[in-house]
Symmetry: C2
Subunit: 327 residues, 2 copies
DNA sequence: CTGAAAGCGCTTACAG
DNA sequence: CTGAAAGCGCTTACAG
């Protein structure tokens, strides 16, 4: 069996209390005892049991992550950065992919609570659920408005939408269509759409938005792209609210012999590392992914440490236009 | 404070034992008591503390994942599937991105042990480390030979390399170059290279392989691609051991005005969902990612359940050629 | 500088 | 069908 503190104590000829103290570097301990204890720990190849520690400390150093799917490069890279930063700070990451299904999110949330996570970072919607349990739960949202009291970290979606739309207009596009996710989700990403609409109206254009309801289902995605090309034969500009949408549209357009950027110009959103490698020619609005991760963790840790004062409720981080060959 | 079992017991007018029993559905309990207990739990919004449970049960239902980086779509999608399957089976996933740094892996491994994970799925190398602690650790590797006793699940890398190389030859390529990761890693992916070399020799060609040492550093990646084009001016076929490598090469080739596939044909490896969306024109060898995830978990769970008999030590899952426009 | 005792929230033999 | 007691592996006041 795994050695426990008692085994170490016996071998070192001291009490469990003493072993615990050298383990935690707490209280005074003679150098000799300390050395003996360390020797015993090495000999037994002892590792403390963090489950037992957590039970006593009421602290797990566990952060729960609930995202729609880590398969999506944006969430994949976000999760990567979050995990990396957490690891440096001594936190561990429990991963959940809800696929935006409400019932799954509820289950995951309960699971995380049972596991006594110190905090949760959420990238899915479902306003209701969290409120209920919110009691002593430390939560930070990324790009999702969960409730009035939960801080939200996101890229400056409005500026992103504005930049994208203005770029297309400045390039001479006359018939610009926007592709967005489901309008039912209460997300700041709605601001991308709002900005698009505002800019369009400012220029006297009629905004046209297509929604992709099943963002993670490729066939239904293609269907929408195909529909756009059918219904908007004059389309010469696309602002897609994700690079994956942009790519899906481009594939469909190419199938129909459309030349990008000559006939249709395309701007995406996200600007992930993976996107940059696989589709470097795409013009896109880049989100500061690692900064989003860092910011979310900063706020979450403050909440965990009980610094509840003047925590910002909404943080918008700057986006960056990456000019490619699709515009 | 969070309610505990004692609070429920008091409210329901029974003992903690009884509450625990209805919680775990163990032993006989009168319907009446059961209902009372449930009522009390609802009233208090009680959730059992899994940390305490784990301590007693010596079972955490936690699976540790150590991968180089979840940013890479292959590992991202693999992790997604693993997490999904685990969730259905009542397991939770603790995520670690080692970036292939040995010291990080060692730290992560210790962290996972301290947290009493029931098992670990590893997608990084570093043979030595695991052996040492291997004692009561349940480990399954994905695409990495960690030691003689740790089962390895991977795609049929040899068949993949063979298929890719033969395709390029059948398309008339005369000067085929292979791009692989670091040759220092003890991975079954070496078989992709071996297959390439075998096929080349079978056809009387000289195999030429370039290695990318820093797989996660874009500039150094581009450097190698540039070097290939400099040193192999006659190259007309590329077999890259990942889609990201393939894309990086294609970008560099396009910069130099090379036409793909007319002047150079390219075959990648992985065939991730993300890759299919962002770079659908790439011909590639698709790994059965969700099957790899399922298989790894099957084996891991058997190990966890103590079924040590006749566990396969090496499983090769079938690959699939996805024909695109780059060949 | 060190140890005995109590307790973190749960579960499970053992009695009744 | 139900409860009192012991224990999972650790930590921390409290004594000495």
């Amino acid at each position: 069996m795994k050695p426990k503190i008692e085994d170490v104590a016996r071998l070192a000829g001291v009490s469990r209390t003493t072993v615990s103290r050298v383990l935690n570097n707490r209280g005074y301990i003679s150098t000799e005892t300390r050395e003996n204890v360390h020797k015993a720990m090495n000999e037994l190849n002892y590792f403390p049991n963090d489950v037992a520690r957590s039970l006593f400390n009421k602290r797990t150093n566990l952060i729960g992550l609930i995202f729609p799917t880590i398969s999506n490069p944006f969430f994949g890279e976000l999760t990567f950065h979050i995990e990396n930063i957490c690891a440096k700070l001594g936190y561990k990451v429990l991963l959940c992919n809800s696929l935006n299904r409400i019932d799954e999110e509820e289950k995951y949330l309960e699971m995380l609570m049972r596991n006594q996570v110190d905090g949760i970072i959420v990238g899915t919607h479902n306003r209701g659920i969290l409120n209920y349990h919110q009691q002593n739960l430390n939560v930070v949202a990324i790009d999702r408005n969960l409730s009035e009291t939960i801080p939200v970290v996101s890229s400056d979606n409005y500026a992103g939408g504005e930049t994208a739309t203005e770029l297309l207009i400045s390039k001479g596009c006359q018939h610009i269509v926007h592709i967005n996710g489901s309008g039912e989700l209460e997300t700041p990403a709605k601001l991308r759409r709002k900005a698009y609409e505002d800019v369009m109206e400012r220029y006297g254009r009629t905004p046209i938005t297509y929604e992709i309801l099943e963002a993670f289902d490729r066939p239904s995605q293609q269907e929408v792209m195909s529909k756009i090309l059918d219904e908007q034969p004059e389309v010469d500009g696309i602002f897609a609210s994700s690079d994956l949408f942009a790519a899906a549209f481009m594939a469909e357009a190419k199938k129909r012999g459309k030349d990008i950027p000559k006939q249709i110009k395309v701007v995406g959103y996200d600007g992930t590392e993976t996107g940059q490698i696989l589709l470097p020619e795409l013009t896109t609005i880049q989100q500061p992914i690692s900064l989003i991760a860092q910011t979310a963790i900063d706020i979450l840790l403050k909440k965990i440490e009980g610094e509840v004062n003047d925590l910002p409720l909404e943080i918008r981080l700057p986006i960056k236009l990456l000019k490619g060959e699709t515009t």
